[in-house]
């Protein structure tokens, strides 16, 4: 941040005074640093803002409630004054879902992080929404349990954020996404009413599933009951090489359709396969221009290379076509290792029938050891003058290859593109695309004109990618959510369902104060 932090306006100072009176000392602030911290999340566009030294959407005030009742009091207070309320977890969202587009109250939920209540025999844990993901997993681990939910953002995301955007963890094929893990929630709707859904059979539409994924536009989740499991005692990991991505897709489908439940099933496209093999023996070297792109090395050369993304993508097409599948199984209890090995070997037989070659445990173990690092490799690229973003779309097996090809083709002239396939189900799979495009000047030299050009390129890349995904019949998001970023495409996703979405908004937030400007609401 190079520009001076913006001071709070009169509305912010008045809100700070009134909210302090409502919740007590230190529960609200309109200090410039607090407003800046809540003005953005990890949406790459907001990283471009930061690089340029601007914060276009600061809240008026930040408030830190300590209980569900305090959240309800803040929402009622905001409703009376018609002030927007934007819930904020840890700010790791990548779609701008926590950006206070219309100012108002940034409701930071991190004080809602009391000790979780673990009932391992019942396989449940009750946890507050502000609990950090890694901290929760550590506390569960101390009780011999795991949630099995390991998003790449686990160090900087919260339970509330997971539920708001329908998060997925790296082991989702075994444990499910967060909407599969959640059993019940406590939430505050836009009228300030406290809703408590049931962890028991209920009649009528499933209220939990209607609130989960609403990105704070219908209600603010304050607590949740989640399914937990005994921590695994055994793990079996393998790398499997296929002659092509398509053969690899057939391999994953075969495993999933068999009823086996791998903890990990990740298939890399040729470049990702080369990158994953780096450091190993016998692998191909990553060609130089591609190495600049993926590592952010040689800033000048990187920006030059990104001026011709089509050439870079054609270089990838010329790489050896092999595709790496990381396959992993887990087991619990005394026979955990044996169970994991037994299922793993059954899966190996299935993928062998699809042409998969067993590479042994090393690629899988390497992936396991490095699985969170990739998300932290983006900063050098931004600093060097690139933008990096990821798109996670999903579809059924019969459409998966067409989706893969269509998105790659659509984005090829806008950005360099890589992909891997993860989060597999009986009926289909998610594809995780990574785009690297030219943003402009390196950090420290970026100005407003540079930002405008960068945003144009960024938008062109995304419009091409999302159009291709829509045309292929895929869902626009598998686990990042919609936020501001993808919302213009939401009518193509939901069609007439937009009427249902707007009806839900009227039902749960009739004053329209909860996170306005997201999900087209």
């Amino acid at each position: 941040m190079t520009a001076p932090l913006r001071a709070a306006g009169p509305r912010g100072r008045a809100l700070e005074r009134d909210l302090t009176a409502l919740l007590g000392p230190f529960a609200a602030s309109c200090a410039p640093a607090d407003l800046w911290a809540m003005s953005r999340d990890c949406w790459p566009r907001s990283l471009l803002w930061t690089k340029t030294g601007i914060a276009p959407h600061p809240p008026d005030v930040v408030v830190w409630p300590a209980s569900t009742e305090e959240v309800a009091a803040v929402v009622r207070f905001a409703g009376e004054r018609q002030v927007p309320v934007v819930p904020f977890g840890a700010g790791s969202g990548v779609c701008g879902g926590a950006v206070p587009l219309k100012g108002g109250i940034a409701l930071d939920l991190k004080r809602l992080s009391g000790p979780p209540c673990v009932d391992l025999p019942a396989r449940t844990v009750d946890v507050e929404a502000g609990m950090n993901g890694q901290r929760l997993e550590e506390l569960l681990g101390a009780a011999g349990a795991t949630l099995g939910h390991f998003p790449s953002s686990i160090y900087c995301s919260t339970v509330g954020g997971w539920l708001a955007a329908r998060s997925a963890g790296q082991l989702s094929s075994r444990y499910g996404k967060i909407e599969d893990i959640v059993l019940a929630v406590e939430a505050v709707d836009g009228t300030g009413a406290i809703l408590r859904t049931q962890d028991a059979p209920s009649a009528g539409p499933d209220l939990t599933q209607i609130l989960v994924g609403s990105e704070g536009t219908l209600a603010i989740v304050t607590k949740a009951r989640l399914r937990c499991w005994p921590a695994p005692t055994g793990r079996w990991m393998r790398g499997v090489r296929f002659a092509s991505v398509q053969a690899g897709m057939a391999g994953i489908r075969s495993v999933m359709r068999s009823g086996l439940r791998p903890a990990v099933a990740r298939l890399y496209d040729p470049l990702d396969t080369l990158l994953a093999a780096r450091g190993g023996s016998g692998g191909h070297a990553v060609p130089e221009p591609l190495r600049w792109v993926v590592e952010g090395a040689q800033a000048e050369a990187l920006r030059l290379a990104l001026r011709a993304p089509l050439v870079l993508n054609r270089l990838v097409d010329a790489l050896p076509a092999s595709s790496l599948l990381i396959l992993g199984f887990e087991g619990e209890g005394a026979s955990g290792s044996a169970d994991a090995r037994e299922e793993g070997e059954a899966a190996l037989a299935l993928v062998a029938a699809e042409g998969g070659e067993d590479l042994g445990p090393s690629p899988g173990e390497k992936w396991l050891a490095n699985r969170y690092k990739i998300s932290y490799r983006q900063s050098p690229l931004f600093s060097a003058g690139a933008f990096v973003d990821t798109m996670e779309v999903a579809t059924t097996w019969d459409r998966l290859d067409a989706l893969y090809g269509a998105v790659r083709h659509a984005v090829a002239s806008h950005a360099f593109v890589m992909a891997h396939f993860s989060h597999a189900y009986l009926e289909g799979c998610s594809i995780y695309f990574t785009f690297v495009g030219l943003a402009g000047a390196p950090a420290g030299a970026s100005d407003h004109e540079d930002l405008e050009e960068a945003e144009e390129r960024y938008d062109a890349c995304w419009n091409a990618a999302l159009s291709a995904a829509c045309d292929s019949g895929a869902t626009l998001s598998h686990h990042h959510g919609v936020g501001v970023h993808k919302q213009v495409f939401l009518p193509r996703e939901h069609g007439e369902g937009m009427r249902q979405l707007r009806a839900l908004k009227q039902a749960f937030d009739p004053r329209g104060i909860l996170n306005p400007g997201k999900l087209l609401l």
Binding site: R166, S167, A168, G176, K177, E179, D189, T191, A193, L195, R196, Q198, P201, S202, A203, G204, P205, L207, Q209, I210, R253, R257, S258, G259, L260, R261, E332, G333, S335, E343, A346, T395, T396, W397, D398, H423, L426, E427, G428, C429, A474, T475, L476, S477, H478, H480, V482, L490, E493, E496, G497, R499, Q500, L501, R502, A503, L504, Q506, A507, F508
Partner: protein
């Protein structure tokens, strides 16, 4: 009424008077949309019935929409594990078509199997069934639902998505109150011979404990039959999945000990008692029922770590007494339909006001300005998407 009848006939649907209401049979999804728009425009109560669902009369002053002509199975793709089906199709017909293609819906409650697809999805089980990993999920990959103004809302057929609230859940379990299920993409399992095994337990409560333990260890069976037999309880279980069934059975044997030397297949597949009630229940509720004097049989479906669908039977008592015994510890009735609670649980969750606003916003409120006679079939709510009364 004549004007209404003309409006409905103009939708392309067959319309006949029935008691104090009308019976409307749309020939297509588009005609269904037009008919719903006419009926909702008049704020009339609507009931929906598909193939296999129990006979029901039109609500007084309202309409019964018969989906019997919407019974097409447009496609069955066993390799992907999906089928495109209209809501009026019977679940039994869909299972037959799936089997022909080498796929299956998996084990389902008898009333679900006897009714229509629309009733299954809109009914109290929300189309859910057990999936590997001791979990449960809806069979509907995507739902096409008719809104009050007749438009069709259809979600993307993706295994999961993160594009806002799950709008399918306005149709699933909604009994047709918020929208009417017209068609769906349905998830199918590969069909393969199950693996079976049976054990003896001291009593039914112990039998429930054994199965609950398996589910907690992620060895959830696809189906189970627990029955009192010769002063003890028989625990007959099956696992499905071409690559997983045998492994799961092996793990269950390691957990529970050597199984009985009997062919457990016929025991598992035996139809549950016709005097039972179908419930959705947590393990605690199933355990409490099992401890009740007279508890004779518990057939299990859709097992997961938290509970299961079950058919509960008492040795002597009536279905009503059995229902009372199930409700006591917290089980929720699925069938018989006449004993089921009619309203949504949202008021119990603090969402009564939100429900009312939602009904208004979706335009599905009904004219309650005059008292209407209760429907002949009992407590069925207006707007209900009907199910089967059959237990097998």
């Amino acid at each position: 009424m004549n004007e209404l009848r003309d409006d409905l006939a103009a939708t392309g649907s067959a319309v006949v008077a029935e008691g104090a209401g009308l019976r409307v049979t749309p020939p297509s999804v588009a005609a269904l949309g037009r008919a719903v728009a006419v009926l909702r425009g008049h704020l009339l109560p609507v009931r929906v019935r598909g193939n296999g669902d129990a006979p029901v009369e039109a609500p007084p002053g309202g309409a019964l929409i018969e989906l019997t002509a919407l019974d097409r199975i447009a496609s069955v793709d066993a390799a992907t594990g999906i089928a495109r089906v209209e809501a009026g199709c019977s679940v039994a017909a869909l299972e037959t078509a799936a089997r022909r293609a080498g796929a299956t819906l998996g084990p389902l409650l008898p009333s679900v199997r006897a009714g229509s697809l629309g009733a299954w999805l809109a009914g109290p089980t929300r189309g859910e069934r057990g999936i590997p990993g001791a979990r449960r999920e809806t069979a509907a990959l995507s739902v096409a639902a008719v809104l009050a103004d007749g438009r069709l809302a259809e979600s993307r057929a993706a295994p999961r998505s993160a594009t806002g609230p799950d709008l399918d859940h306005l149709a699933l379990g909604g009994s047709g109150r918020l929208c009417v299920v017209a068609a769906a993409w349905i998830r199918l399992f590969p069909a393969a011979p199950p693996a079976y095994a049976a054990w003896k337990a001291p009593d039914l409560a112990a039998a429930i404990g054994m199965v609950q333990g398996l589910c907690a260890d992620r060895i959830a069976p696809a189906r189970g039959m627990l029955r009192l037999q010769d002063g003890a309880a028989l625990v007959a279980l099956s696992w499905e999945g071409p690559g997983a069934a045998r492994l799961q059975r092996g793990r269950a044997v390691r957990a529970l000990g050597e199984p009985l030397a009997v062919d457990a297949g016929p025991e598992v597949r035996a139809p549950p008692s016709s005097r039972g009630v179908e419930v959705d229940a947590r393990w605690e509720a199933l355990g409490a029922f099992a401890r009740r004097r007279g508890a004779a049989e518990i057939a299990l479906y859709g097992l997961h770590a938290g509970g299961a669908f079950a058919v509960l039977s008492l040795a002597e008592e009536t279905v009503e007494e059995c229902a009372a015994a199930a409700r006591g510890p917290g089980a929720r009735l699925v069938a018989p339909r006449r004993l089921r609670e009619s309203g949504p649980s949202w008021p119990e969750m603090g969402a009564a006001a939100a429900w009312d606003r939602l009904v208004t916003a979706l335009g599905t409120e009904e004219d309650r300005s005059e008292e209407r006679a209760p429907p002949a079939t009992g407590g069925a709510p207006p707007g209900a998407q009907h199910g089967s009364e059959k237990l097998r």
